[in-house]
Amino acid sequence: MRDPVSSRAKAVPPSGIRRFFEMVIGMPDVISLGVGEPDFVTPWHIREACIYSLEQGYTMYTSNFGLLELREEISRFYGKRHGLQYDPEGEILVTTGVSEAYDLAIRAVVNPGDEVIVHEPSYVSYKPCVTFAGGVPVAVATSADDGFKLTPEALEKAITDRTKALVLNYPNNPTGATMSEKELEEIADVVVEHDLIVISDEVYWMLTYEGVHRPFSSLNGMKERTILLDGFSKAYAMTGFRIGFSLASPEITEAMMKLHQYTMLCAPITGQMSAIEALRHGKKEVDAMVREYKRRRNVIVKRLNDLGLPCATPGGAFYAFPDITSTSLTSEEFSTGLLKEEKVAVVPGTAFGESGEGFVRCSYATAMEDLKTALDRIERFISS
């Protein structure tokens, strides 16, 4: 039989997270700091609205763009929170999670051979999706010394004649890094100079603990060049509902919609109905979750530093990204050893790119009690 698998599918290695997941599965009594989703269950008022929508018989397709009612809520929300105006008819596309929105964005802008710059360490899907689209992902390493922020110098260096787009992800998974308005403006200057498109994944923005988050498209001149991606998974603890959205110019939105139409058709209506409720009445519970995450962040960061695992205070998301080089172990050895000896799951930094070597990702979307126990076990592990 001839090779059933395409060379394109083969070209991309499996996610490092996935490999680790297979190691963890079946192990009893593991405390996991390896999870990229909230430990909170979706607030009840949202689940209740979801159930009601099913009772009312909302089980059909929606417009390819998503329910107009939801797009109007998103538009209002962005107007209110960020002073940004996006037309619900033509500039907003509701997708099956930010993951799909990202894939659509890449396929909508990348021509074969186009280079797309991705800062690393970063989320595992960014580079593979570029490859799947026939583009060439170009990794730019960020460092702990720069607080894992993308610097204009590093960006400049990576740009070639073939560079079409830049992928930004702040607050960042896996480092928790955030960028200030001023730092983003410096990036914006480079973007204009080289005529780039920016795909800004801001799904963690509501989980910002210091300062105010500025959407990249709110910077001067950036709205028409930015595809802003946001979703409900992280802030509203709605990962399983699979609802994200993109905010972009009518031209790009139309292109993304076309791809979406022929592949996904529409995001699930049950998730969309729930998302409407989240936007209308979700603030109080989101605020409470953010306060709790911040407290956990303070606890984990302090403790990791006390243990001799230097860790900057993350400005957003729910990840701590400590430097583990003092243990003389690689990220992989640290994570595997910690799992086998102390039954604590963390993700090796290398799962997020080569520049993640020497670090591990610890999610603090974990109940405070478990977090404390996990930290005790980490202490035992590194002192043994």
Binding site: F21, V35, G36, V124, R295, K302
Partner: protein, 158 residues
């Protein structure tokens, strides 16, 4: 609400040192703030919410009490008498068809019934009582009883 209160309401055993770490304040600051909250009577007591169905056999009843208010002092005088009984866990003055809601606890049905008929109903200002025995607690002070521990997440995910 004060963040210290939010933390203590969730877990009253959280130490000032832990609260300090969570909130980025110093332990001394947190201790002082807690002392102040206690002094002002914002924090009244640190207690445990006990599922008595599992701990022992206690019986609770909600009692609607109708009262004739007294000139000049309203309901307070009779309420003061009612709340001094150790059997009374909770007492609220309410608007509506009756006046005071009293929650009473006893070791058994008989004990509660005796308390109502001998102590409560016999008070001069009390004109009537309706007793509702509690059959099952679903939730108390924000805590859901009989909740199964949930951990449905995958152990590692993006």
């Amino acid at each position: 609400m004060d963040e210290i209160l939010e933390i203590l309401e969730k877990d009253a055993r959280t130490t000032p040192e832990e609260i300090a770490r969570m909130t980025g304040r110093s332990p001394a600051e947190v201790k002082a703030a807690i002392r102040e909250l206690e002094k002002k009577g914002v924090i009244l007591k640190y207690t445990a919410i006990i599922n008595k169905d599992l701990a022992d056999s206690a019986v609770q009843a909600l009692i609607e009490v109708k009262v004739t208010p007294q000139r000049g002092i309203g309901y307070d005088a009779v309420a003061e008498r009612i709340i001094k009984f150790p059997e009374v866990l909770t007492a609220y003055l309410l608007s509506g068809t009756y006046d005071i809601l009293v929650i009473v606890e006893g070791r058994n049905l008989q004990e509660v019934a005796t308390f109502v008929s001998e102590k409560l109903a016999t008070l001069d200002q009390v004109t009537g009582t309706v007793t509702h025995f509690m059959l099952k607690k679903y939730k108390e002070q924000g805590v859901i009883f009989h909740r199964k521990k949930r951990n449905k997440r995958l152990l590692v995910s993006p």
